[in-house]
Symmetry: none
DNA sequence: ACTCAAGTAGGGGGAAACCCCTGTTTTGTG
DNA sequence: CACAAAACAGGGGTTTCCCCCTACTTGAGT
């Protein structure tokens, strides 16, 4: 198992290196920016690359995307502070092998490396509860299109901070029906569960 | 020279520890939150404490302030990503012994420790050019200023979509206390009694 | 005629936010 | 010291959100 590390914070880089080595892995290369990281991945083809997302030049997401597009054999683990849903979704879409929040690195990195070594995907256990809805971007209008007419109508009312009871009264339907629609919307938008998150999403994406 | 380190990112903590030890200093204690840091400073009275600013419970600034007020002999170095003027100004006002940006830690920490050891103050060379004016004091900030320190801290965590339970765990206080603070915040901001308005207000006014 | 998606509606339950009330302790300042 | 503000903590309550599950109706394909 040859591993490459990239992080622009030298102290974190040293800490990660020491930790990974203590787990019995061989750290072949370290670097502090994405361009170098990608060059090293291209030439040395390490088994695993552990990348920070915030790096000058090319960030970890871009490196992941290029690794994916060039069909390089290296499996990419993103070790990051970013909790934004869209970032995780992009990483996922580009075939990330592992996604860990820095704050939980100590407990999870070992597990993650084992899972990734077996060729499976590891996602931080804590991520679900930590995911944050971020600001709207252009390509998210696309996901709204998956909603049906009634769902969009209800979503707009949610953005206006109406409760399910109020929406039900306005549309002359049962509160239970509104709740049913809310559930479908949440499913279609792939919002994290167990959280009061639809309302925030709605207020950020409408008005 | 006995040194205490506090940082809530375990990897950075390890990296800093390795680095400081490589410079020939003795790291007496490490911890990952401000409350523990202050307790350790009170009891062990290390010569130097190197603190992160972002920590759950009590942040590095608060620890500095308490060390200052209790006239403890420990000299405090803040090792941080924060470039905001007001943060640095507060640190300065509370007698910070050193202020270093994490991105320049490698080049500056050694120099800083020597200077602080001599009893002088060290400020990151890069800081002047990096200092950022924080958000302008518009009318929204005016109302925020009516909040107490703890209330602001909790408001930020609400903006990060933490539940009261999670906030309570992070700050080592009871869930009931967090709920009490929420109520005070709502009163001070004169928010409507409807559900979740605080959450929406917070996400719109922070970040 | 049959299928499928949409919309409708209900039971039951859990988590979280917010309200009311009551206290105590800590801390800063006059 | 005294007083007020702040933080801390608890009981008990309501509403809302969101989940699970099941159903029925309707309209539009191929």
């Amino acid at each position: 198992m040859r591993i490459l590390l990239a992080d622009d914070h030298p102290l974190t880089l040293m800490g990660t290196k020491a930790f990974v080595e203590a787990l019995g892995y061989m750290v072949e290369d370290v670097c502090s920016n994405g361009i170098t990281a990608f060059n090293l991945i291209s030439t040395h083809k390490p088994n695993i690359a552990i990348l920070d997302i915030n790096m000058p030049g090319m960030d970890g997401l871009e490196v992941l995307e290029k690794v994916n597009r060039h069909k390089l054999p290296t499996r990419v683990i993103l070790l990051t502070m970013h909790k934004e849903m869209t970032i995780f979704n992009k990483a996922n879409q580009w075939g990330v092998a592992g996604y860990i929040l820095k704050e939980h690195a100590q407990e999870e990195l070992q597990k993650c490396l084992e899972v990734v070594k077996r060729g499976e995907q590891y996602v931080s256990k804590n991520l679900e509860s930590d995911l944050v809805i971020d600001a709207p971007t252009s390509d998210q209008n696309y996901t709204i299109e998956k909603l049906t007419f009634t769902e969009k109508k209800i979503l707009e009312l949610i953005a206006q901070q109406k409760t399910s009871r109020q929406i039900a009264d306005m549309l002359f339907i049962s509160e239970k029906t509104v709740e049913g629609h809310r559930s479908s919307i949440i499913q279609k938008l792939e919002l994290p569960k167990e959280k009061n998150t639809l309302l925030i999403w709605a207020t950020k994406h409408f008005k």
